[in-house]
């Protein structure tokens, strides 16, 4: 069951997101994560969807997505060289003796502390999902108040791109 990142350019219409989500539930495909936001062209949204499946399932997923009238174009980023990033914001409890250690840990992972209170830090970090997993695994689970992840988003390398 290969992991695939499917990047979709779609009409920025109300209901477009639910068409995609509905397709996945109706046909029994799984969605690991899904992010969506308007693009530089306000009439278009770009959705990044992470799913898993064998080649047949992924082929059906891309065909079924293409069949949705609101979908303009899509690519399976797993087919080509691409860069993938996810955003993590994590809020941790800090005791006076732990504050330095957490700060240096964030430095090692190239995270930034973006909010500070006497007893907490919020750390912002971007990177491939595995890096964020590794960071979360490296800090004391007891200290985590909450963590929020955007889900991965991606872009292909080189001159090719997903545009009209």
């Amino acid at each position: 069951m290969m992991r695939h990142i499917i990047s979709i350019l779609m009409e920025n219409e109300s209901g477009a997101l639910s068409r995609v989500a509905g397709l996945f539930s109706a046909r029994g495909y799984n969605i690991e994560s899904l992010t969506v936001a308007p693009t530089e062209d306000p009439s278009l949204s770009r959705m990044t969807l992470v799913t898993r499946g064998n080649d047949e399932i992924i082929e059906q997923i891309t065909k079924q997505l293409n069949k949705l009238i609101d979908v303009v174009k899509l690519i399976d980023l797993a087919d080509s060289f691409h860069i993938e990033r996810e955003l993590l914001m994590i809020k941790v409890k800090t005791t006076p003796e732990m504050r330095d250690e957490i700060r240096s840990m964030a430095d090692i992972f190239r995270g930034k502390i973006i909010d500070v209170t006497p007893t907490t830090y919020i750390i912002e970090m971007t990177g491939p999902s595995e890096k964020l997993d590794a960071f979360i695994a490296a800090i004391d689970p007891e200290s985590i108040i909450e963590a929020v992840r955007s889900g991965p988003t991606g872009i292909s390398r080189g001159e090719q791109g997903l545009h009209l």
């Binding site: 779609m10 109300s14 209901g15 109706a26 047949e56 082929e59 059906q60 065909k63 293409n66």
Partner: protein, 578 residues
Amino acid sequence: MELNGAQIVVQSLIDEGVEYIFGYPGGAVLHLYDALFQQEELKHILVRHEQGATHAADGYARSTGKPGVVLVTSGPGATNAITGIATAYLDSIPLVVISGQVSLPVIGSDAFQEVDMVGITRPCVKHNFLVKDITKLAETIKKALYVATSGRPGPVVIDIPKDITAPHIKVPYSYPDNVTIRSYNPVLTGHKGQIKKAVELLLSARKPIIYSGGGVVLGEASEQLIEFTRTLGYPITNTLMGLGSYPATDKQFIGMLGMHGTYEANMAMHESDVIIAIGARFDDRVTGKLDLFCPNAKIIHIDIDPASISKTVRVAIPIVGDVKPVLEQMLELIKASTIKIDADALAQWWKQISEWQAINCLEFDRSSPLIKPQYVIEQLHEVTQGNAYVTSDVGQHQMWAAQYYKFNKPRRWINSGGLGTMGFGLPAAIGVKLAFPDEDVACVTGEASIQMCIQELSTALQYKTPIKILNLNNRYMGMVRQWQEFSYESRYSHSYMDTIPEFVKLAEAYGHVGLRIDKPEEVRPTLEAAFAMKDRTVFIDIMTDRTENVYPMIEAGKGHHDMKLRVAIGTSTDRELA
């Protein structure tokens, strides 16, 4: 020209050339109904239940090739239309369903008769729209009709809030000549390289078979299919949805395939080395158990919908395109090709097929004192000279109609194949008869199915659509009973109704002619009498052998080569049903 929203809807449909709109009024569409009242071009057909409206529009669409148009109110009007929308979706029928919606400011407030129609229909439409701006109304209707009728056709819903159709809000009206949707560009012609490969494979086949489906009917490619098939000299089988696209009485036609297909069609599929699937989608009722499906065949698949290709069965040569131009492209290459078909191999193949045909899998007991349903369909074929439009409901009668009415022309066989919707036949027949008032229209049904939309008998009277209803009455939900006999040791759980209405009286109560027969010798004269009553709807309640089963049959989990055949002629009437 300035029009209000309701007038825009009506005028747009008129400008599009829509002839009939099938509907039922209610609160959210009152403005629309007022606009309908004030014109005469667009004819409204008032049904008795919104499901009937969708099926009637569907029957109209299937028989004409033009889109069927439906108008329902919000809430229950909209939900009642769902079964008909899903029926059209599964069989790729172009419908445009206009539903009223509560006014924009109250959407989402659980207002009276509010349902989220766009949300509720999303999984069973090709596309849907919620119109929030009156200036987009005409364009949306054009888009809906374009999407519904192009590419792989399907139903499209337009949900229109009541305030969009308000009489006092007027905007300039012009109906667009055409419309483009940047995210929707159906592929029409096939890829040349793929077609070349397909032709080479096809011409070098030793045991080829042509397997064609509803796509040939929808794509108006019957003529091309006939020329293609005759040029090659190969055997052809049709799916349930494809019947009529190749003449059933032609010698190259070896019958329908699939669960209740002929022995020869299924065996030929199983033994074939090359299959060309044309506008057919390898439905589970066609393939049987997938692991056992056509073990030795290389498959070529032509379909306008890329998602239909390699969905359930992997194919060697996919060709995405409209079947008509693709068949034309192929024919050109076949005629120019230097590859010669191996005549000896083909003769051997036909010899093998004729051995399978000799089993005579569709034979039934012709000396029974009871009316055999198969006999009724054969007689229907003779009385109507094979020219009738035949609609059906779902169950045993549907399979018998498909097996025994030898359809020679496309668009004559009107049935719910994909969704299997009981209640489809009667309203569909009304839609067909409106489109073809001078043609014979028969609805082959059963006493269970007909009761699911029987209220439409009233519509048939109001609009003077004289159809002939053949009610194959076996006092059972026959197909359910058959499965219970085969797979549940004859435990006939709720497949029988203790109280079946007196259909003759019922038909008469609705203002039609009711007839009842129970002897084989009555079949022919009764059918002749019924079809002679050109201006009356006739309901013929035909008491048939209640033990009769549909044969042959591929039971669940079996392959094409493993069919259940009738054991011996004459045994069925001896059986006692519990």
